[in-house]
């Protein structure tokens, strides 16, 4: 049983979508870190895009390697 804690830190920005959906959130300056548990099961956390934003909910934004 591996238990790993990862932390997401971000700033939010709202973006208007439509009358029916209202607003959606864009996450900016997303930094993903893992708590050091001495085991280092996760070896690398890599951002897919350079500007560290999460906007398109259908695409991957971060890759976590172990």
């Amino acid at each position: 049983m591996i238990q790993v804690t990862i932390l997401f830190s971000y700033a939010t920005q709202k973006e208007y979508v439509s009358r029916a959906c209202g607003y959606k959130t864009i996450f900016e300056n997303v930094i993903v870190t893992q708590e050091d548990d001495g085991d280092n099961w996760i070896q690398l956390i890599q951002s897919v895009n350079d500007n560290l934003t999460v906007e398109n909910e259908n695409a991957a934004h971060y890759k976590i390697f172990h």
Partner: protein
């Protein structure tokens, strides 16, 4: 004997006289009938009233009392130019709350619509009702206050979604639109009219608020995602202030 003859002659004379007088009376009746007919043909001279008709939209008033999310008032007016053509205008103010699952927006603003109405109905005699088609150009200034919103998400894992109750203002917005109007106006009492109309609107231009959308435009009503069309209706009561009268017949010749 002579006496009797004298009497009968007298009698005949009277009868003759009566006959004559009867004939004379008949003649005078015929003459007077002819006279009166002549006078009547002269008096068939229907006049139309021309003037300023002002009133208010009752549906907006009633809705203001019934609907907690709406306050509105509209003054209407028209001025008769020719037998069929009227200059028409509406001026109004509205406050409307648009409430959806994810948004709650208060829109306040006022508007002016101006154009013409054309009476398509051929009135009997001196009746002055209208079945009309019309055209308007409308312009409005308004502002939105975003009272609260809830972030939309299909993801059921990260719940609850972020919501905000901090109100946000979108001020100084304007819109211009065109309208085609169909309606009726009926004179229910002397100079008092009751009317019903439907409006088909097309948005010409609008200032889009940044990171938001004009969900409701005072005077234009609800906007639709599908396009620039809008709809409205009016139920109004108005009073005609007659300024001058014009012969219907001469008006026809115009």
């Amino acid at each position: 004997m002579l006496h009797i003859i004298k009497f009968s002659i007298k009698k005949f004379a009277y009868m003759f006289l009566f006959c004559v007088s009867l004939n004379a009376q008949n003649d005078s009746i015929v003459n007077s009938i002819n006279d009166s007919i002549k006078v009547e043909t002269d008096s068939i001279n229907i006049q139309n009233k021309y003037g300023l008709r002002i009133g208010a939209d009752l549906s907006k008033l009633v809705r203001s009392f019934i609907d907690d999310d709406y306050k509105g008032f509209e003054v209407i007016g028209d001025f008769r130019l020719t037998r069929k053509l009227y200059l028409a205008a509406e001026i109004g103010t509205e406050e409307n709350i648009t409430d959806t699952d994810y948004l709650n927006v208060t829109t306040t603003g006022s508007y002016l619509k101006a154009g013409v109405d054309y009476n398509l109905y051929k009135n009997w005699l001196d009746m002055e009702n209208m079945i009309y088609g019309g055209f308007r150009v409308g312009a409005g200034t308004f502002s939105h206050t975003l009272n609260n919103y809830l972030i939309y998400s299909q993801d059921q894992y990260w719940t609850p979604q972020f919501s905000s109750d901090t109100s946000e203002d979108f001020d100084g917005l304007t819109a211009i639109w065109a309208e085609i109007v169909f309606g009726i106006k009926a004179e229910v009492f002397n100079n008092l009219y009751v009317g019903l109309n439907v409006q088909f609107k097309g948005l010409i231009s609008e200032t889009e608020p940044s990171n938001f959308e004009n969900l409701y435009i005072p005077g234009f009503n609800k906007t639709y995602d599908s396009g620039r069309l809008g709809f409205g209706f009016g139920y109004n009561i108005s009073y005609l202030i007659p300024i001058y009268k014009k012969d219907k017949a001469t008006a026809v010749q115009e």
